[in-house]
């Protein structure tokens, strides 16, 4: 469509955003302010991620967009369609084929490689916001690496629930310097951020911040010596592909309280099923008392 500049944003805007991205890569975990533009979608729908994607996308890139792991939700479908239309790039749902993956609230199950970039959509980039509402003060806290407050938040969790009850947007320390909100990914994904081969970029449109984790950067989840960080563990395998190595969503199947647990990463799950892995509630599975299964 010649009515649009390639990937929607004008070249000056993309340059400005690329400068912010370069700075973010140079200072891992540091929130770089940028002049976020109005996008043809509401805040909360990934305006930050879309601007980052638009700025790094080239004609040869292959784009994948996921929303909580799924390629087929409204948000993922719209953004994929948006770039297919404004940039004419090839899109895919296969993690391995993609060179740029924009994500909302998940890290794909499949390991990412050096040729790939993961772009996170971020609603609230400031991890200290919960306890310190003043932006001037949180900036000072970051500048001086005064992160006691972050542990106060985890302390409160343990005091109230007996364990660290934060299960998503679990704060991490990046490269031993900045404490960062990894966006609302489940804490299950946190270990994946550490020493990742792919470049990880984070865009917050409403809050006008970009930050980054360069490849092979040390990312540590904050914790206490006597309450160490533990990724979520699942008691069940995926009902569809039988995987015991993936993050599961709970799906309610009927009005009688029936539910099942399936991979949140649809591409991963479908790939496994194609490869012959069959879960206990999969229609292709041998029918043994499905009602008894949880």
């Amino acid at each position: 469509m010649s009515a649009y500049n390639f990937a929607y944003l004008d070249e000056q805007t993309k340059r400005m955003i690329r400068r912010a991205i370069l700075k973010a890569i140079a200072v891992p975990g540091y929130q770089v302010p940028f002049a976020s533009r109005e996008m043809p979608m509401p805040y909360g729908w990934g305006t930050g991620g879309v601007q980052v994607t638009a700025s790094i996308l080239g004609p040869d890139d292959v784009l994948k967009v996921i929303d909580q792991g799924a390629d087929d939700t409204t948000n993922a479908v719209s953004i994929r369609a948006f770039f297919a239309k404004t940039a004419g790039v090839k899109t895919t749902t296969a993690t391995t084929e993609a060179t740029v993956i924009q994500t909302r609230h998940r890290f794909p199950e499949t390991n990412l490689g050096a040729h790939q970039v993961l772009v996170y959509q971020v609603p609230i980039p400031e991890p200290l916001r919960f306890l310190e509402p003043r932006e001037t003060e949180t900036r000072t806290l970051h500048a001086l690496a005064e992160y006691g407050l972050m542990h106060v938040k985890l302390y409160e969790d343990i005091a109230r629930h007996g364990h660290i009850a934060t299960t998503y947007a679990y704060p991490v320390s990046v490269n031993g310097r900045y404490v960062m909100d990894p966006s609302p990914i489940p804490k299950y994904d946190n270990p994946r951020l550490d020493d990742c081969e792919a470049l990880q970029l984070f865009g917050a449109g409403r809050e006008k911040r970009i930050y980054a984790i360069p490849p092979h950067t040390k990312v540590v989840s904050l914790d206490f010596e006597d309450h160490p960080f533990e990724p979520t563990k699942f008691e069940h395998p995926c009902a569809l592909c039988g995987s015991t190595m993936s993050y599961l969503d709970e799906v309610v199947t009927d009005d009688a309280g029936g539910r099942m647990f399936v991979c949140s990463d649809t591409d991963y799950c479908e790939t496994r099923q194609r490869e012959g892995h069959i879960g206990h509630l999969n229609a292709a599975a041998p029918q043994t008392c499905p009602e008894a299964a949880e």
Binding site: G148, Y155, A159
Partner: protein, 260 residues
């Protein structure tokens, strides 16, 4: 004469102006380790401004404040980096506000409030932090079983005691107090004052205490500065200044209250 001591804090020629009005004019004094100094005067006399200048919360227009980071090693607050000043403020100093809501995190449990300084200096053991918080709750006469409750559930007197515990947990050498008993019932005030007096003696704390209440100054302080319109108009031993006031304004202050 006598045992030579080195000052902990030294103010030299401190001035602060708001437009043409001097909030503090040419104020100099030394504070020794373990000494309790009261700054008295009525509202608007500049005593709170002075407290903010001394604690590095406000920069003076002229003059300087030196603090002994280690015995004999005086450092001008103005030449310290912000990081150094803030580290000092949350380890070696305390600041007790009149309004406990300013000095506490109201949406954080008592344990979290006390533990914040410990976590700020790298303590990463939940059990130890919580235990230390409970010890401090006992020391300020709050039932340790309430360690997980938020200050919103506490009375005014308890909040003030919690604020003190939060400040003392790192064993500071110097605590600034801004009308610590203001706004509390008389019976609550007496208990708080007695607790402060005991803690100051036990821990050998130096205190700069701003108060308009001469009875509070008499009970807690050894030395007093009387301020009026931004200037120190009289200073000396607390009992000397209160029993034999020299300046007209001090005589007025002393005669204006019931037996202090």
């Amino acid at each position: 004469m006598n045992t030579p001591t080195t000052p902990l804090l030294k103010a030299s020629g401190l001035c602060k102006f708001y437009g043409n009005r001097a909030a503090c004019r040419d104020i100099s004094f030394e504070l020794e380790p373990g000494e309790v100094l009261a700054i008295v005067g009525e509202s608007g006399s500049g005593k709170s401004t002075l407290l903010n200048l001394l604690s590095g919360r406000l920069a003076p227009d002229s003059g300087r404040v030196d603090y002994a980071l280690a015995p004999g090693q005086m450092r001008d607050l103005a030449t310290m980096s912000e990081a150094e000043r803030r580290l000092l403020a949350r380890t070696d100093w305390g600041f007790v506000h009149q309004d406990a809501r300013e000095g506490l995190r109201m949406n954080v449990s008592a344990g979290g409030n006390i533990g914040e300084r410990l976590m700020g200096i790298g303590n990463r053991h939940f059990g130890n932090i919580r235990e230390t918080a409970q010890v401090w709750l006992s020391r300020v006469e709050i039932d340790p079983a309430r360690v997980d409750e938020r200050p919103t559930a506490f009375s005014g007197g308890m909040r003030q005691r919690l604020q003190i515990a939060r400040n003392l947990v790192t064993n500071p050498r110097l605590v600034f107090m801004d009308e610590p008993t203001g706004g509390l019932d008389v019976s609550v005030q007496a208990r708080l004052l007695d607790m402060i007096r005991a803690l100051v003696a036990e821990m050998g704390l130096a205190v700069v205490l701003v108060t308009h209440d001469l009875a509070v100054a008499r009970l807690l302080s050894q030395r007093i500065l009387v301020m009026k319109q931004g200037e120190v108009i009289e200073s000396g031993l607390t009992d000397r200044v209160l029993d034999d006031p020299q300046a007209p304004y001090t005589q007025l202050l002393v005669s204006s209250v019931l037996a202090a």
